[in-house]
């Protein structure tokens, strides 16, 4: 399969990339790892007149903590995130998410920014970023702005990024002590999108109660979902087996998955419940040990 013709541009600086986006307001697309965009163009499910490849712009790939914030460069590869010592030791939710995205070959090219900018509720990072209460940094012709993750996903394949903006960074608050996270995904095989998946990030208080919690659901509706009711229910409570079960039930109640070859609606909703329960338990275990 061969994509329809397009013009390809390989700017060396962010300024040049932004100018190219502005110069082609109606039909330019950012090309990052290409692992979502190129398959779409090949299947001719999408088209673009101009691809602006950000692959040669220096300074867009990094993972670092600075001033109480974890900063992930927009073009950071999934494989880099997966193998980062900092991520493995301190951000289990991110490490576990990166490790189940697509397959190792796709992860060598796919980027975290691309995973979010694609706006696909079946992608795994969106729910994780909801749970982590991340912010997305967008750079456009008028400088940068920061978009809270809750305002980022507008609909199926639609995000708050303007056509002339580039996602340059993801910011995540550094978790306090006694924090933990977990991503639990049900997939039919490696490289499949989630039948259902749940992302949990939480912090335990001095008495073992849940001091704060974020829960995100993958592939459970037209956008990634925050399980706000379950979060509120859990906050301040001792996470007993019953409380976890009730929180998982409340999380799955907001799921509006569609039926497809991965399963029926009711099955997927049940899976969202089961997986949220498991993710909560694993996140609590991690928080107790760290």
């Amino acid at each position: 399969m061969i994509p329809a013709t397009f013009d390809y541009h390989s700017p060396q600086t962010l300024e040049d990339a932004l100018a190219l986006l502005q110069g082609h307001p109606d039909d330019a697309k950012v090309l990052s790892g290409g692992q979502s965009l190129l398959p779409l163009l090949k299947l001719r499910l999408g088209a673009a007149g101009h691809l602006i490849d950000i692959g040669r712009i220096p300074g867009l790939e990094y993972v670092k903590e600075e001033g109480g914030v974890l900063k992930i460069g927009g073009r950071t590869r999934e494989s880099a995130l997966e193998h980062s010592d900092l991520i493995q030791t301190k951000y289990p939710l991110l490490a576990q998410t990166a490790a189940v995205i697509a397959d190792p070959l796709v992860r060598n090219l796919a980027t975290v920014g691309g995973n979010l900018a694609h706006g696909d509720p079946a992608n795994d990072h969106p729910a994780t970023m909801l749970a982590l209460r991340a912010e997305v940094v967008a750079t456009g012709p008028n400088g940068t702005r920061t978009i809270p993750i809750d305002q980022f996903f507008l609909g199926l394949f639609s995000t708050a990024l303007a056509p002339d903006e580039i996602l340059t960074e993801i910011r995540i608050p550094v978790p306090p002590a006694r924090s933990g996270g977990s991503y639990v995904k049900l997939e039919r095989k490696v490289g499949d999108f989630a039948t259902a998946a749940s992302a949990v990030q939480l912090t335990l208080g001095a008495g073992g109660e849940v001091a704060s919690v974020g829960i995100g659901l993958t592939n459970a509706g037209p956008t990634p979902l925050r399980a706000a009711d379950a979060e509120q229910y859990l906050t301040g409570k001792q996470p007993s087996a019953d409380v976890i079960a009730e929180a998982a039930r409340r999380a799955s109640a907001i799921a509006t998955p569609s039926a497809d070859r991965r399963g029926a609606i009711e099955y997927k909703r049940q899976m969202a419940r089961v997986l949220t329960g498991r993710a909560l338990k694993q996140a609590i275990e991690w928080a107790k040990e760290h």
Binding site: P3, T5, Y8, P39, K42, A102, P104, L105, V106, N108
Partner: protein
């Protein structure tokens, strides 16, 4: 621009070509450069038959534009053998019968060679994880794992 003058080093040799923006790396290799060792199995980024090393990193060449490889190094299965001597991973697939039809084999070997370059003594789980983006319809993977283990042992210094 819709046409690009590119230079790609494939298996140590520089190649210049004029390519369309939309030309895929796998087609540059197979059609422009007539190196048909890199296979196309699915064309939907699922099978890994088209795996090549791009600056040493295994990627699916059906999902990379040829122009993205401009100025970079590509290793294909044709580049594994050196001076008439098989690469240890090729020897491994031969010794342990790691292939049946052979369609997945170029991709399997390149992914495995990249694994061994970073991890000389991988566990079985690590091997399975590394090749999880390469599909084989024939072998059931058991002999592929043995082939990679054979190559790992051969490559380790103490093996001599």
């Amino acid at each position: 621009m819709a046409q690009h003058q590119i230079q790609v080093k494939v298996n140590g040799t520089d190649h210049k070509a004029e390519v369309e923006s939309r030309l895929l790396l796998v087609h540059l290799l197979r059609e422009t450069l007539s190196m048909t060792g890199t296979h196309i199995g699915c064309d939907t980024t699922h099978c890994g038959a088209c795996t090549v090393l791009l600056d040493g990193v295994p990627v699916k060449s059906c999902t990379v534009l040829a122009v993205q490889a401009d100025g970079r190094e590509v290793t294909t299965v044709e580049g594994l053998e050196k001076d008439g001597k098989l690469h240890a991973i090729q020897d491994g697939f031969w010794q342990e019968h790691g292939l049946q039809c052979g369609f997945c084999t170029p991709g399997m070997m390149l992914t495995s060679a990249a694994l061994l370059a970073n991890n000389p003594d991988p566990s079985e789980a690590q091997i399975r994880q590394a090749i999880s983006g390469n599909l084989c319809r024939c072998t059931g993977y058991v002999n592929i794992i043995k082939s990679v283990q054979y190559a790992a042992a051969k490559l380790r210094p103490e093996a001599g």
